[in-house]
Symmetry: C2
Subunit: 247 residues, 2 copies
Amino acid sequence: MPKDAATARLAFEIVKTACSNCNLRELCLPIGLAPEELKKLDELVSTRRRLKRGDYLYRAGQVFESIYAVRSGFFKTDVLIEDGRDQVTGFQMTGELLGLDGISSEIHTCNAIALEDSEVCAIPFSHLEGLSRQIHTLQHHFHKVMSREIVRDHGVMMLLGTMRAEERLAAFLLNLSQRFKARGYSPAEFNLRMSRDEIGSYLGLKLETVSRAFSHFQEEKLLAVHQRKIRILNTEGLKKLMTHQRG
Amino acid sequence: MPKDAATARLAFEIVKTACSNCNLRELCLPIGLAPEELKKLDELVSTRRRLKRGDYLYRAGQVFESIYAVRSGFFKTDVLIEDGRDQVTGFQMTGELLGLDGISSEIHTCNAIALEDSEVCAIPFSHLEGLSRQIHTLQHHFHKVMSREIVRDHGVMMLLGTMRAEERLAAFLLNLSQRFKARGYSPAEFNLRMSRDEIGSYLGLKLETVSRAFSHFQEEKLLAVHQRKIRILNTEGLKKLMTHQRG
DNA sequence: CGCGCTGTTGAAACTTGTCAAAGTTTGTGG
DNA sequence: CCACAAACTTTGACAAGTTTCAACAGCGCG
């Protein structure tokens, strides 16, 4: 590549990285910032990183320095314990943040793995704290994001603690559906990026149980399932199933 | 009460409320603050509140204004869903913070209930954000506290998703033991403040299952149990049980 | 002293996990 | 571009763990 073409390309990359140009503004950190504040944020988001399917964004045990905003693609996070058990703690899609768990001990406590080719913005955390001290709105928004993560986790605890297999899967699918919808995709038809095993791990079920639940949902005409392609045929039915009292 | 006695009492209360005099400094927000910063924090922690056993500190749906630091006593938080199911999402003891879940939507998403007579410091959240912009250390510490809550929740998800009944109870007891120890109490002997039903709700089990697990632990000479009074006889045994591979 | 709440224990029912086999899709190298 | 291997999914039969239902015991409180 000729030298000036390379330079032009670099400039282009920087433009592409800028929060002020990002079409995820409404989903990500920049919510509600004034134009001049957005410029400051642009400087903050220094690096972008591309990952191929299967790549680790970070691993448990690594030193924590940045949080990451998913620009495109799909991730999972999982925790491992010594005795070999592991669990998927979350799936992250466009506009969602990764790495908040690392703040407490300055070491990542889980693995973050790309489930498809993806791109993230790295946000050095100390810079974010610095800018938060200057921009009230950014500070408040960041606190909300962390708090939302806590609320989400409580929802998962509820799911794992009180729901049975089919209720869990229904809740999971409805949640995905909603998140696709919020990103402008069809809420009724989408591709799962994760395996039955990964869904099971997230929902506290074995993969066979997940598979059986899918089959049963098909029999009940709640879903059309072809591999990882899902079409929701009866949203209300799923909701009803999800909130159906145990017993 | 004579007027000046009342005044003296008021002054005394204020002194008692001050973070700079609080013997929980090492557990709570003031960690690592310089003396002049501590003074600013004192102004922040405006109110103290006493609660009797069974009182609600806040309820799901109420407007969020403050977070609370437990000064003494013991709390549980729980979430309810429409269909009647509920789950205990956590137990909070001295020095721990309550209310972080309310930041995201400015409405509390769970109930916080005193399990014994308790006292809390109310920290108006907008003031905390203001002071965080001035005091770097406080900001960073607060972020760590929120992140730690996320990590804790991941631990509970792990417990609910991958452990069986007795492993869960062992993990729960070891966690309590550790927290009592950190507060200068015996790690081996303590009173549970919660019922079997509340433990079960937290662990995603029925109260009968919890009761059976306690009985079994006694048979195995891991514990001595008398009502809610617990003595741990074999910590290593509990740890081994907790990390024992499923199957 | 008895009532109510909490906790314990037993037996049966139910849900999910385990193991095994076979079908399907995806990816790779020839 | 095909063939084969590897990974993933589905399904069945059986086992294990947990819940449900029921009865009863213990403690604290009025």
